[in-house]
């Protein structure tokens, strides 16, 4: 007989868990006691929200299931933002929470919260475990559900008496079978043939590639497919990295802060092949004018995404990697779409992303300097806001899973703790966080975590003493009325010092490269406080609700 807590830790190890991110508390004491001398590594964060983001960052960078652990009540509630972030971006995370003993459930007991109720709409599935004998089966199912089909977070709520309760070894099945859960992996052959028919007739095809390519590890197949048929590729924020930035067919990001040429291509294409993408409003702008001349092929593992926002001509439900393989097998010789590609080359040449050349320290220059320095030898994690968009636009990503960002939920405070998880997934390369002075302060307490554990996360803060993206909207759409978006100056280097972290303040373009060099030369974490032009904007920009070819801040057409 073993305790539920021991079974839990053994089950996590059996699922291949290397590390869990967590924070102890009353009802998880039995679990923490098991962790005390377990081979399972535990990283103590400074706030449970950071544990959820770190597990998410680990999952995104590795493709494996990330795990976080918190106590009941406030601990569990603090995971919520992180779980919602994972849910919106479909990342595989198992969140484990303690719960008050079963005899007190529903009693408003100390530190009780109905976390399965709270997380109902933001988890792929969740469990309230009622007996120690169920723990191993539930963990096996949770990992299976989190990591298969369209991935997502699964929460396991474990009452204290279940952790301390005894149960005999349970024989687990080799393969989990759930009668209500059978994801479709194989694309329908007839639909795939129909898609190829459409492609055969298209003169101006365009691939719109989303985060599904990354989570399905389908970049090689995507590249082969795009190259064989000479189809230009635009990626969503989540899809960045699925095709190298310098690839001639790559159009960069589309949508609200997309490149002009990507948005032009969307507007003029006659066939759009959406792969692992979901026609989000930040991508489409005004939905009626999105790809107005195009037939649409939509490949996605989640049937609920098909036709959700936009009418689709050929839906293909399946794992995008497998569907792309099938497309490649059946594909005949393809046209090179020479006229179309020539037009796109012309757009790329005359409408490049702008990098300001005036005096002062420009964030675009900071990002480009880092990009040229580290090339493909780093993972870049962003916060949310202007810092995120500048990085998405100006950093040159070469590989999938090297760009980690909160897309769907847009969670400020995600980046820094996520980077901690990323480091454990990819200890072979440096991890950089690109943050704003607003977002870094949402989880700045994690400086304690990286300092105590010498986690070499390099923190680059684009400090404009504003909540920059909101300020930009106020400037453009609210008549310069900067309502509560100005932040008083903070000396981030000094904050770092207080935690024992080295750092450097950077005020001029000349000092940017030396700062990044110094961060790489430092063994541990490093803070860079870039004092950038305060009112720099992210351009081009499609105003909310406008058609995506109606951009401001672009080149004259």
């Amino acid at each position: 007989m073993k305790t539920g807590a021991k079974i839990l830790v053994e089950s996590l190890l059996r699922e291949g868990t290397e590390i869990i991110f967590g924070y102890p508390g009353g009802v998880v004491l039995p679990i923490y006691d098991e962790l005390y001398d377990s081979p399972l590594r535990h990283l103590l964060v400074r706030h449970e929200q950071a544990a959820a983001h770190a597990a998410d960052g680990y999952a995104r960078a590795s493709g494996r299931v990330g795990v976080c652990l918190a106590t009941s009540g406030p601990g569990a509630c603090n995971l919520v933002t992180g779980i919602a972030t994972s849910y919106m971006d479909s990342t595989p995370v198992v969140a484990i929470t303690g719960q008050v003993p079963t005899n007190l459930l529903g009693n408003d007991a100390f530190q009780e919260s109905d976390i399965t109720g709270i997380t109902l709409p933001i988890t792929k599935h969740n469990y309230l475990v009622k007996s120690a004998g169920d723990v191993s089966r539930v963990v096996q199912e949770a990992f299976y559900i989190a990591g298969t089909g369209r991935p997502g977070p699964v929460l396991i709520d474990i009452p204290k008496d279940v952790s301390t309760g005894l149960a005999a070894e349970v024989k687990l099945p080799d393969k989990v079978v759930l009668r209500g859960y059978n994801p479709t992996y194989k694309g329908h052959k007839r639909q795939i043939e129909k898609a190829l028919e459409l492609l055969g007739h298209a003169e101006r095809p365009l691939i719109y590639a989303g985060g599904g390519i990354i989570s399905s590890n389908a970049s090689p197949e995507l590249m082969e497919f795009a190259t064989l048929a000479s189809i230009p590729v635009t990626t969503t924020l989540m899809g960045i990295g699925c095709i190298p930035c310098h690839h001639p067919l790559n159009l960069g990001m589309l949508g609200m802060h997309g490149t002009e040429y990507a948005n032009f291509a969307v507007t003029e294409c006659d066939l759009m092949i959406a792969i692992g993408a979901r026609f989000d409003d930040r991508v489409t702008g005004k939905i009626d004018t999105f790809a107005p001349h195009a037939k649409i092929i939509h490949i996605d593992i989640d049937p609920a995404e098909i036709g959700k926002n936009k009418r689709v001509d050929v839906p293909i439900v399946g794992d995008v990697k497998g569907v792309l393989k099938d497309l490649l097998t059946l594909m005949k010789k393809q046209d090179a779409h020479e006229i179309w590609n020539k037009k796109i080359r012309h757009w790329k040449q005359h409408h490049p992303l702008k990098c300001p050349t005036t005096d002062g320290l420009h964030p675009q220059f900071v990002i480009r300097t880092l990009s040229e320095l580290v090339k493909d030898k780093a993972v870049i994690v962003s916060e949310v806001g202007q810092n995120q968009m500048w990085t998405a636009q100006h950093f040159c990503f070469h590989n999938p899973r090297t760009w980690i960002t909160s897309g769907g939920l847009g969670t400020m405070g995600f980046g820094f703790p996520a980077a901690i998880g990323v480091h454990f997934a990819r200890p072979d390369v440096p991890t950089f966080v690109i943050a704003g002075d607003g977002s870094i302060q949402m989880n700045i307490q994690e400086m304690g975590t990286v300092a105590a554990n010498k986690i070499p996360v390099k923190i680059a803060i684009l400090n404009n003493m504003y909540l920059g993206m909101v300020r930009q909207w106020q400037e453009l759409f609210f008549d310069h009325r900067y309502s509560f978006t100005e932040l008083p100056p903070v000396d981030f280097v000094k904050i770092g010092q207080a935690y024992g972290i080295e750092g450097m303040q950077v005020n001029t373009p000349e000092d940017v490269l030396p700062a990044f060099q110094a961060s790489l030369d430092c063994d541990g974490p490093f803070v860079m406080d870039f004092r950038i032009e305060r009112e720099e904007n992210v351009f081009p920009m499609v105003p909310a609700g406008a058609a995506i070819n109606e951009m401001i801040g672009g080149h004259p057409r």
Binding site: P121, L128, I145, R179, G180, G307
Partner: protein, 167 residues
Amino acid sequence: MKPHTLSILVENKAGVLSRVTGLFSRRGFNIESLAVGPCEEPGMSRITIVVIGDDAKVEQVMKQLNKLIDIIKVSDLTENERVERELALIKVTAEQGTSRAEIMQIATIFRASIVDVSPKSLVLQVIGETDKIDALEKLLRQYGVKEFVRTGTIGILRGSKIVSGGK
């Protein structure tokens, strides 16, 4: 916008009803009626929900329902020939005299049965489609409906076709 009767086969587990109803409320649907009970398969229950909405929105909710791990099968009965029934219990003011006789006459016409009698009231039990029950309640209003209790609609396909597991 028309009523859709959805038949949902679910695992009989704690919380499954709130998972299902939560999906409707999050999308702004008002559930017109709801009925839950065990079904032919052990360990499963069947939920019948009537919602009013346009076809595309209902289709999206059905897809979302299908994603729930504890949901085994979702069908829109409205697309098929079906039998739908609900049951209502109506407590009507019925003093001695003509009104009592009239109520009993109406009950006969609607094939409702009188299941409780007291000096001042009658309880009618009626089974039928929503419209029939609405019509009876409307007719009885003139006598004074003291209490009106109705189940959710349940439905079943006509012929040998069934709504069963394996989605």
